[in-house]
């Protein structure tokens, strides 16, 4: 059997099935997406002020992917992400405080100030890292799925990576083994159109990235990554396939990042135009959900305003917490090198 397709096409094509999410569920999605958006705005600001160092890759525009996906997971599932990981961490339930403090390099950060923006971890939530080498965490996730199968648990391992990673060897090697060994894994490609400054059409001989699953007899799906309901239902199907049948899935989420690859490139002007960014902003995941909720009378203007205020306060608190937190002790340089210390 060739890789089966259950397509819910993005970008102007069919939207997902009619959302059946409850008002409460919608509010959770909206709150998380707004939190991520505002968190990232503030992270960018803190970076510009020199309070966040190193590389910093923002998730603005892609929020529906992390939020819709995490909602489909169980608390004992395993998650890995690339270095663009703030949104995934927050959607998984890491606090804004612990993530912001990590960006600030503080001892109270989720990785105790040793990982930074690209290496957010919270083992207690099964959030096993932002990883800094493109494609490097794809086999790791298959290894976690292998462990779940080995132990005969029904845990699922989920991997988030950008579309540029589908051209690297570890992606192909892993998809082959995941399908061959029937591992309970979900591979989520966040296709935001650009690997750093290289447009997909200049990097990939094939634009339908989900089709890469055909080579490995793996089920695939193209998903409108701007619609949180569509994301949720696609990940629900993939997780069920993994949990009940121990089979992997490749999901291509069509999305867009509004900001530069990292803090060191402009949102537009070099590899893409302002008009293009503006066009994609028309299908903003937060606006789409707000429109749905307002139309369904789940929320009104006052409710939206209150939600915004909550999120602003939460991020403000996180920034204050991060600023006031201590740096790691000097001795921390030498700890965690090996299990027993140095």
């Amino acid at each position: 059997m060739a890789g089966s397709r259950a397509s819910s096409r993005a970008k102007g094509a069919a939207r997902g099935p009619e959302p059946s999410a409850s008002s409460e569920q919608c509010l959770t999605y909206l709150r998380q997406m707004k939190l991520i958006r505002h968190f990232e705005d503030k992270a960018g600001e803190a970076y510009s002020l020199g309070k966040v160092g190193g590389f910093c890759h923002l998730y603005i525009g892609q929020e529906a992917v992390a939020v819709g996906s995490m909602a489909a997971l169980r608390s004992d599932d395993y998650i890995t992400a690339s270095y663009r990981d703030h949104g995934h961490a927050l959607a998984r339930g890491l606090t804004a405080r612990s993530v912001m403090a990590e960006l600030f390099g503080k001892a109270t950060g989720c990785s105790h100030g040793k990982g930074g923006s690209m290496h957010l971890f919270d083992a207690s939530l099964g959030f096993l890292g932002g990883h800094g080498i493109v494609g490097g965490h794809i086999p790791l996730t298959a290894g976690m799925a292998f462990a779940a199968k080995y132990r005969k648990t029904d845990q699922v391992a989920v991997c988030f990576f950008g579309e540029a990673a589908v051209n690297i060897g570890s992606f192909h090697e892993t998809l082959n083994m995941a399908a061959l060994w029937k591992l309970p894994a979900v591979f989520i490609v966040e296709n935001n159109g650009y690997g750093m400054g290289t447009a997909l059409a200049r990097a990939s001989s094939k634009l339908d990235l989900a089709h890469r699953a055909y080579s490995y007899e793996m089920t695939e799906e193209v998903v409108d990554g701007q619609d949180v309901f569509t994301v949720r239902s696609a990940v629900d199907r993939a997780v069920e396939r993994a949990r009940l049948e121990s089979l992997p899935t490749l999901l291509e989420m069509r999305t867009y990042r509004y900001v530069g690859h990292s803090m060191s490139d402009a949102a537009h002007g070099t590899y893409r135009t302002k008009e293009e960014v503006e066009e994609f902003r028309q299908r903003d995941p937060i606006k789409l959900l707000e429109a749905h909720m307002v139309a369904a009378k789940m929320i009104d203007e006052a409710g939206l305003k209150a939600l915004d205020e909550q999120v602003v306060a939460e991020v403000e608190d996180a920034v204050t917490f991060a600023e006031e937190s201590p740096d790691p002790a000097p001795e921390a340089l030498w700890t965690d090198v090996l299990a027993g210390g140095q």
Binding site: K114, F121, G132, R151, T174, W181, L338
Partner: protein
Amino acid sequence: MPLLTYRDALNEAMREEMARDDRVFLMGEEVAEYDGAYKVSRGLLKEFGPLRVVDTPIAELGFAGIGVGAAMVGLRPIIEFMTWNFALLAIDQIVNSAAKMRYMSGGQVGCPIVFRGPGGSALQLAAQHSQSFESWYAHIPGLKVLTPGTPADAKGLLKSAIRDDDPVVFIEGEMLYNVKGEVPEGEHLVPIGKADVKRAGSDVTLVCYSKTVTVALKAADQLAAEGINAEVVDLRTIRPMDTETVLNSVGRTHRCVVVEEGWSFAGVGAQVVDVIQQYAFDELDAPVLRVTGADVQMPYNKQLERAAKADPAKVIAAVKRVLYLA
């Protein structure tokens, strides 16, 4: 004590540890149905089944990463590379994932994994299949690097490696698999980071590891016939290095030659020399010399290959130089 080959000693270590701990599994190319490219995993598939002895496609980067991911969530993988030459394809997972995980997660996520397979020079396998990479891995904080030179050490170190909570690079001597030696039965553990004086002597210290243990011992035998008593210190573990044993020996002999298979530039011996010059400078009666592989790509031709490798004659010549006899 039973006489075992180095190969069977490794096999026994894996068999005992797999029986002892069901989190331990073996994964790699040809490890299961083929019984191992070098037969190190002979019989393990039959005994432990396909869940725990896993044949992989030829995809070093992928299966090394799968091992790391499994270790991150509590299994204890043994990842076999058919040879360390092929592990170059997987080095991103060894260096950027396995070695970094504990540190960059702030101590939350460890990586108890063993990467093992044969390394060092072989017989007429030419440039791509006959190389020593221990200094590369020893450069990396977060990794332990083990290089047993005898069957007993092979068993005892592999058992310790499998039980260790950190990623271990375990480099077997490709030319040692058929070497026989006495190997203790059952619970035989060699501590990681502990060198071993393989032969006591008073005139010169020969520091060696893996296959060069045999080279150094042969050289010591021949030197003894000339009245020169060489002490042979087998490092066994490259990182963390047992500098104490090396310094104690040099403190008694005042002369040292390091014997290694790898290339000279930034090699393991350079690290040994650095330790000696820092901590035993006043003990030295001669500069420390190194016998290394020739600084060239390994040739195929038998005579050229022989000239490229460390051998007893080169060790003897170096010893005579540090004794000012030549």
